[in-house]
């Protein structure tokens, strides 16, 4: 018995020895920055004390949190926008990707070409996509203004100069591009046992019934996975905003990520403490989001 225990300890030590580099990397790359972000959110840290963050003191410990929720209109707008983008991604991108995956999985003529066409926007850099949309929305040379002028002569719509339209302008630059999600979903569909489909067909099930009663339920864990990926994309949105709207007009297209950048490095005040406060809230939102989606799709159970 003693011999067995000692062998087990040896084995555990051996495994730990090999895990050590990964643990160290995790601590340095993930854990340390996270702890740093968390603690500095309770500090004063800006251009005046750039090299030495100062603890706010126990009487004012939540000052940064209080300020961003009470007086910082840019943060409040960024928070609302980010939540809206998460919801829109879940409501538009995921159903759209599932629908395309279901259609393509029928392997009708030209399905490969359609699949490739659907995936192309996801392999183009977001920088290029941003520039494409910037040109589409340009009031001087963009096609959107031209189409609007054809429908309503003299309307001269300038998408990025109007607070309400600019939000949708940014949204449509990413929300329909579900190529990666579609690929994952198709892989899952193709891995379903063909015998199940054959049995359903023998029983006289229609194509719609097969999709709704067999494919979709079996696809549920993967829908959960792509939902987590897509919702996180919506929550962390930055590139499209930086390239297309620059957060404007009137900061109406701020996201949490964009707010963090602008507050820390995009401002002469270099307010790292407040940016990190927003970072902490973004992390908690992300955890909450993953938890909710997992619960919704039971992806933890691997159903």
């Amino acid at each position: 018995m003693k011999k067995k225990k000692s062998r087990l300890n040896k084995r555990t030590g051996f495994i730990l020895y090999f895990l050590m580099p990964a643990i160290l990397l995790y601590l340095i790359i993930y854990a340390y920055p996270l702890i740093n972000i968390f603690f500095t959110s309770f500090c004063e840290w800006n251009s005046k004390n750039f090299v030495a963050p100062r603890f706010l003191g126990w009487d004012h410990v939540f000052d940064n949190y209080r300020k961003i929720f009470t007086v910082d209109a840019n943060f409040q707008r960024a928070l609302i926008n980010s939540i809206k983008w998460v919801i829109l991604t879940m409501l538009i991108q995921i159903p759209w990707s599932v629908l395309v995956a279901l259609v393509l999985s029928k392997r009708e003529r030209g399905w490969r070409m359609t699949r490739n066409a659907f995936v192309i926007p996801n392999i183009i850099s977001t920088a290029a996509i941003g520039l494409i949309f910037l040109n589409l929305y340009s009031p001087a040379r963009g096609i959107v203004t031209e189409i609007c002028n054809k429908i309503v002569p003299g309307s001269n719509v300038s998408v990025l100069a109007n607070e309400k339209w600019a939000f949708w302008g940014v949204t449509f630059s990413f929300v329909l591009f579900g190529g990666s999600s579609c690929l994952l979903l198709m892989t899952q569909i193709f891995s379903i046992d063909p015998g199940i489909y054959e049995a359903a067909k023998v029983d006289g099930a229609s194509s719609l019934q097969i999709d709704t009663r067999i494919t979709l339920p079996l696809l549920r864990p993967m829908i959960g996975t792509v939902s987590v990926i897509a919702a996180n994309y919506g929550l962390l949105l930055y590139n499209e905003i930086a390239l297309i709207s620059g957060g404007g007009p009137d900061n109406s297209t701020y996201s949490l990520s964009f707010y963090i950048y602008k507050t820390a490095l995009g401002s002469q005040k270099l307010n790292f403490a407040r940016a990190n406060t927003a970072g902490v809230i973004q992390i908690f939102l992300g955890i909450l989001l993953v938890g909710c989606i997992n619960r919704l799709f039971h992806t933890k159970d691997g159903e």
Binding site: S47, K48, N49, F50, V51, K67, V71, D72, A73, N74, L134, S138, P139, A140, T145, N156, V157, S158, L160, A161, N162, E163, A166, S245, G246, G248, P249, D250, N251, L265, S267, Q268, K269, L270
Partner: protein, 445 residues
């Protein structure tokens, strides 16, 4: 055996290259290896001559200084491929680890507050006070860059000189009085109305830079407005009658006078307002003197384009001159090295170099010693002549105010320009703008 020999040779080669590289590093950091004191200067003029000719001229100017003093000290010159923004970002990282450039040109990116807070940069004021030539060379930078506690951490060899440009042919076509004849802002309004009536867009704007320029220009209209504007970063509230009038003017007399096609979203990529002017599609351009460089062979015809100053309602003429952050020197250097840096700044702001900067169409200089009349005679290119003319015109301004961003700070500038789109489409009133700006001021504290 073969493998062993190969491994030994490889190991030897690596050791030799490591030792020689380390030696080189030590050499560069120390003193150039010749016993002379050494200073490294970093700048953002990295562009190839074919891409941007002024960059090559600036590098030449720097090199001439290094060559001139090669027997006294080693002056290393490094071009940062990231430009002034790259230098700023590197400086932020360096500050965190307690380092700073020996001397760098920050090209308008203001590092001084963070660097001074960290005790990393030297106060140039004692040197400026001790040398009248140096003080004359830095011109407006002396007052503009002085901090509340009386220190000057940065000076520049160039200033952002801003008035506006107009297309004389379009004004004549519309039968409007040209800006050189304007006596007040009522003349501006009358000219704009005539241009609009003639189907000519009076100007092309965006939610940013050009609109800020006009707002700053209009803010110099009378004593009360100038007084409020001069408070700059000390302003505690925008709820002021003169500011209310400025914003009302921007809404009714400027933004509502142009269609959506002549109003862009702003941002670094939004240069449509420039293209509209150079193509002859708009009659006025609110931009700095350096815009002359884009007028060569333009569709509007360079001969039709003229520089102008802003009118005021009390018979004066106004221009915007902003120094901003330029040369910043590390406080960790030895006294000898600091002297070298000051010598370099003195060289860069000397009348001779200032003249070259103007004549080569690089920009406007703060130096009060430049003879623009003489410079006009030596310049040959039409764009260069126009630049000299624009600098000369700005120099004659009765009122020389800071630009919007330098006056109120980048954050307030950003917040204000965010409101232009709402003011234009009527979704925001002047009161809304003032309320939101005050909220932003409160949030920034």
């Amino acid at each position: 055996m073969k493998n062993k020999v190969f491994s030994s040779i490889l190991a030897l080669a690596m050791t030799v290259s490591f030792v020689s590289a380390a030696g080189q590093t030590v050499l560069a950091a120390d003193d150039g290896g010749d016993g002379l004191p050494s200073v490294t200067f970093t700048h953002g003029y990295y562009h190839d001559e074919s891409e941007w000719a002024p960059a090559a001229e600036m590098r030449k100017i720097y090199q001439e200084f290094a060559d001139m003093h090669k027997d006294e000290f080693t002056f290393n010159i490094v071009a940062d491929q990231g430009g002034a923004e790259g230098i700023y970002n590197t400086a932020l990282n360096d500050l965190s680890s307690g380092d700073f450039y020996d001397i760098a040109d920050f090209g308008g990116w203001d590092i001084t507050e963070a660097a001074a807070g960290a005790g990393a940069i030297m106060d140039l004021k004692p040197y400026l006070d001790a040398d009248d030539d140096l003080k004359a060379g830095v011109g407006v930078c002396y007052d503009q860059n002085m901090t509340a506690d009386g220190k000057i951490y940065s000076v520049r060899e160039q200033v952002e000189g801003v008035g506006f440009w107009y297309n004389e042919a379009l004004f004549k076509e519309a039968g409007a009085e040209t800006p050189d004849m304007w006596k007040s802002w009522a003349d501006f309004d009358a000219a704009v109305d005539k241009l609009v009536a003639a189907g000519i867009s009076p100007f092309s704007m965006n939610a940013g830079w050009p609109t800020n320029i006009l707002a700053a220009g209009y803010s110099q209209r009378d004593e009360a407005s100038r007084e409020f504007y001069a408070k700059g970063r000390e302003i505690e509230s925008f709820d002021d009658e003169t500011f209310r009038q400025t914003t009302g003017f921007m809404q009714k007399n400027v933004l509502e006078k142009i269609d959506a096609a002549h109003f862009g979203p702003g941002g670094d990529d939004d240069n449509q307002y420039m293209l509209d002017f150079t193509s002859g599609d708009s009659a006025m351009l609110f931009n700095g003197v350096w815009a002359a460089g884009d007028f060569t062979d333009c569709e509007a015809g360079i001969e039709n384009l003229k520089p102008a100053l802003f009118p005021t309602d009390d018979g004066k003429k106004a221009g915007l001159l902003s120094g901003g952050c330029g040369y910043v020197v590390s406080d960790k250097l030895s006294d000898e090295q600091k002297e070298i840096c000051v010598e370099f700044i003195k060289y860069m702001t000397s009348p001779e170099i200032a003249g070259r900067i103007v004549e080569n169409g690089i920009g406007m200089v703060p130096s009060t010693a430049v003879d623009y009349e003489a410079a006009a005679g030596t310049v040959e290119s039409p764009a260069g002549k126009l630049l000299v003319e624009a600098c000369r015109t700005l120099n004659t301004a009765d009122i020389k105010a800071l630009g919007w961003g330098n006056n109120f700070g980048g954050d307030v500038e950003g917040e204000y320009q965010n409101k232009y789109a709402g003011l234009k489409d009527g979704s925001k009133s002047v009161d809304d703008v003032i309320k939101e700006l005050d909220q932003a001021l409160e949030a920034a504290q």
